[in-house]
Amino acid sequence: MEPNQNISSNEIQALSSTVAGLPHDMPYQIPHDYFNTLAQRTMLQVRLQATPPAYEIPQAYFEQLPNNVLQQLRKAAVKEELASISPYLAQLPNTTPLQVPTNYFEQLQAKAPELNRAGQGKLITMQRIRTLYMAAAAAVVASLVTIGLQLQPMYGHQQTANTLSDNEIVQFLDAQGSVANIAASAVDEYSSSDDNFFELLTDEELEQYLTVNGTSTGGSKKS
């Protein structure tokens, strides 16, 4: 018995004769030939982990990938649509055969600042045009609302009037005063508005108007 085993055996005997008497064999089973191939399998792992990746990928490849794929899908969808409408056209190349002068776009970009400074082809930004359109639309809406509000009382009264009985109308009018008074006030209103109207007319037009209406002011305007 080796020295270590002797010491160990005596030690455990001293601690527990029960435990000292137990079998030392491990009851676990292992696969057949496990240890014969373990070293080779482990070295394979070592080599695999030491090997750098075989393939390289372009920079930012994965960042651009979704966009590239979407573009391809869109192209394919357009192609399929054309093929369903006209298989003949779908076969044709979709390149434009027209020629462009050499360096045209580079020169155009270089010219753009000069054009702006000269005022030719002055740039009116879409934002400004949009603002003008919005202002015009707002003015139209405001006018319509104003007109609507002006008309609303008349319309409302008319609606109300249509639903009232004759007795109710007479009672309302009595409450407001006599019919004559109302007519007189209506005439006054009309007259005052007429005054404004008359101020806009020339003398000849006024004379003609008076002749048609059967009254005469002697050709003078009321102030």
């Binding site: 080796e2 270590n4 085993q5 010491i7 160990s8 455990i12 601690l15 527990s16 029960t18 435990v19 137990l22 079998p23 030392h24 064999d25 491990m26 009851p27 676990y28 089973q29 292992i30 696969p31 496990y34 240890f35 373990l38 070293a39 080779q40 399998r41 482990t42 070295m43 792992q45 070592v46 982990q49």
Partner: protein, 179 residues
């Protein structure tokens, strides 16, 4: 070949792989059983063992020979085992403590398990021990490792290891007598 010769061969690029293969073949069984006694399942033991050898391959250039080669390999295997058990604990929410039934169930699930046989009952008893105590018991009882060497493997004082081993033996004795 001696450990020294193997290490010299490992230092040479043309014989590096051959030397390491020889090292593996020399210590693989000891390391395997050291791991398997702790993790119980063969597949888990295989994973831990290969990880340990791969770590050894990477670190062997820095091995200072201030301890025996197999002590150094044992230390790597022990650390890999404890890392594995810690990871399993997190996955199974602490069921890998020595007190729990999970390791016991693993023993019972082993092929050929027979609770009537003493060697199986001993395995059940060992799995009741806390992790570190289990390690100490296994290294002393099965590998008959000297306490001086064990203190280098487990980085614990010899006195603590002796005390731990004594407690472990008493617990196992109690288990064996009760069951």
């Amino acid at each position: 070949m001696t450990d020294k010769e193997l290490l010299q061969a490992f230092a040479q690029p043309h014989s590096r792989e051959k030397a390491f293969t020889a090292i593996m073949q020399k210590y693989q069984e000891k390391m395997y059983w050291h791991i398997r006694r702790m993790v119980v399942n063969h597949d888990d033991a295989n994973d831990v063992l290969q990880n340990a050898f791969i770590k050894a391959w990477r670190g062997l250039d820095n091995f200072r020979e201030d301890s025996q080669l197999y002590t150094w390999l044992y230390r790597i295997a022990t650390n890999e085992t404890l890392t594995f058990l810690e990871r399993e604990k997190k996955h199974t929410h602490g069921q890998f403590d020595g007190d729990d039934e999970s390791l016991t169930n693993r023993v019972k699930a082993q092929e050929g398990f027979d609770v009537q046989r003493l060697e199986w009952k001993l395995q059940l008893a060992i799995q009741q021990l806390p992790e570190k105590q289990r390690l100490v018991f296994n290294l002393r009882y099965y590998d008959e490792m000297p306490y001086e060497e064990m203190s280098r493997v487990l980085e614990t004082s010899e006195g603590a290891l002796k005390a731990s081993y004594h407690h472990a033996v008493k617990k196992i004795e109690s288990f064996m007598l009760q069951h």
